[in-house]
Symmetry: C2
Amino acid sequence: MRTVIENGWILTMDSADTCYENGYIIIEGDRITHVGKSPVPADLLAGASHVDAGGSIVMPGMINTHCHVSMIPFRTMGDDCPDRLRRFLFPLEEKAVTPQLVYWGALYGIAEMLLSGITTFLDMYYFEDQVAEACRDAGIRGFLGETVIGQKTCDSEAPYGGLDYGRKFIQKWKGDPLVSPLIAPHGTNTNQPEFLEKAYALACEYDTLYTLHASEMDYEMDYFAREYHQTPTEFLHALGVLSPRTLLAHCIHMTESDLDRIAAAGASVSHCIGSNTKAGKGVSPVKTMLERGIPVGLGTDGPSSGNTLSMFTQFRLFASFHKTENRDRSLFPARDIVRLGTRTGAKALGAADRIGTLEPGKQADIVMVERNSINMFPCYNPYSALVYSAERANVDRVWVAGQERVRHGRLTGLDETEIRRRLLEQMPDFLEKSREFASII
Amino acid sequence: MRTVIENGWILTMDSADTCYENGYIIIEGDRITHVGKSPVPADLLAGASHVDAGGSIVMPGMINTHCHVSMIPFRTMGDDCPDRLRRFLFPLEEKAVTPQLVYWGALYGIAEMLLSGITTFLDMYYFEDQVAEACRDAGIRGFLGETVIGQKTCDSEAPYGGLDYGRKFIQKWKGDPLVSPLIAPHGTNTNQPEFLEKAYALACEYDTLYTLHASEMDYEMDYFAREYHQTPTEFLHALGVLSPRTLLAHCIHMTESDLDRIAAAGASVSHCIGSNTKAGKGVSPVKTMLERGIPVGLGTDGPSSGNTLSMFTQFRLFASFHKTENRDRSLFPARDIVRLGTRTGAKALGAADRIGTLEPGKQADIVMVERNSINMFPCYNPYSALVYSAERANVDRVWVAGQERVRHGRLTGLDETEIRRRLLEQMPDFLEKSREFASII
């Protein structure tokens, strides 16, 4: 089965940033076989099904390197409440999150990501098996890790239950075409050091990614300074858990030596500009990270922290924040920002051989962004249009692994209304338990 | 003719921030006559036409306090080019902007604003008569000023031609129900002082607003320091042009004494966070401005500078930037940000008696934001949903002065496709002339 996408403004995001103002892509099975400038060679058209991109921007599926997708039920709850993680998110999660809520929350959030052009996401949460099922049911690519944390959780009475859950989860999903399992200790200061090490040993044993929140919180920085006279990064380095399999989420508060250690270890960073700045936490030094060769992907964070599950929100915030931090309009031209959300994101996930660009041999993860809506005209520079103008609603068609998951802004295989209905069915107990926090949310 | 809007989550944005989770609004002619909690009193229903808001968020029409709407043809052109105003915007405007381009660009941009829930905008440009015609044709509320500037422009061979044009423009449009004419000297450093004074005298003579760019550019700050040993604000104050009729756009670089002078004069500020930060210029000290009682409205700036003509873009950027600047998540909770885009914006335009809130006696400028789309669920806090999640595509219905201008996301009185076609017809000469700048755009 061969599909030809024609008449697109194709941004391959390959290493030369090759772009065809009028180009084509050919998909066979789950892969891209050809990308080029129109016209399509006649011999490739025979027997193929045909998609007219109608001048749309065609780009690689966007890659969301940090999420807690199942947190949909928390969205718009106490957005402006300081220290919300400890004041109501942790306690409410522990009391009220169920496997069903995780599944339907994940399916809802995955639908939202597909509709906004995200074809791959990294997730860390509880009952991660349910997130994996949702990925399989929705046909999105997931890098999924069970959370390991030194406290009672919704899926473990005992602290660190995620370690056993995580081992079984990795064993179950290893080798799946869409789900790449990994292990996700919650953060630098929410695990005792030996459990950070144990989780790392598990990642090494099964050759998976290892992701955790790092250098995000003021109190985390204070804790490591006080207890260890170290930064969290120095601490992780001394523990021996920084390597190319390590993906650090946030990294807001960084010293020069932190950046040296991350770069030398070959570790990656997930930068969540929307979540970090909505919380007033600060701006990660991404310019310096990239100068040192650290792969930096973009992340929406969970819908409770970042609200939209759209990379376009991150693009616009990224541009404004990093240009302003550096007082330089020319820094991070739009193309460089789109690259972070595609090719560099793939690299941060250790998956650059399979996804992140439109090139022959890569997985057919493809997004078509229409230019007919009022906000998308004129378009002299498609990267500019994506970074400064586009929104979720401009996403027209999406393929993951060669399967069309969104057509004309609608899910092909899922019923949005039904997902919301099923999620709502799971929410009464959650809402009841949230009343305990009514005064702060 | 009476219209009843029922079953809305009504954010009145009145001085008590009154909100009805299930409420109604009644419109008669161009005004709101009643706002309240459901059910609607039976005697008010008789003979009325009925709109079911279906749980949508119903808010005052948003107010865009700074724009150059006719710059649509420039959008995505050289977005990341430093000093683009002097390097290609001024020269290309002077060579290529025609009355027809201004009219069709304005109509296009006005359509975009209506579709994103903006019902009032302030504009400064050339051939401003064409912008006024576009407002009348589209049925949007415009505070419009011809630009006065000390150089040749597209509508005047001689410098300062805008002063004569502006006088005629004010005479022509004064008293119009939708168009409020004003005068708009371009900026502090692009007019000789006597012309800033002449423009101010004109504003006083006709009792109009007076708006200009101020404290926006690094080179502007340097110029006043060098030439006058003053800040631009000190200079404007000494010139006697700061008063309640003065609306200063941008005000990024402010001293304490600048803020004192603006507050004491009763002048207002238009804050364009998207445009300012995309340019890497810096973040205006809005927290301090508001503490001193300065009315601060939000502005999209022109589509060349701000790209989207959507207040939602400004809301999200505003939250992230001001919380981060002040390292305080609790600062500017979402409701305060929505207030800037509605009630405070009206105050900044000197129009708080007519627009900016949903109250009996006010103009019926009303926006309905649906909550069915995937990004708008859940919604515990409608302000949060507007600031952190909403986008143009969530705007369902819009009324200006009691006239429905958008229904179910479509313009009622204008044909979007036809506007784009007519605008494109006007663009070949503009595009030809833009080639001169091909190396930088």
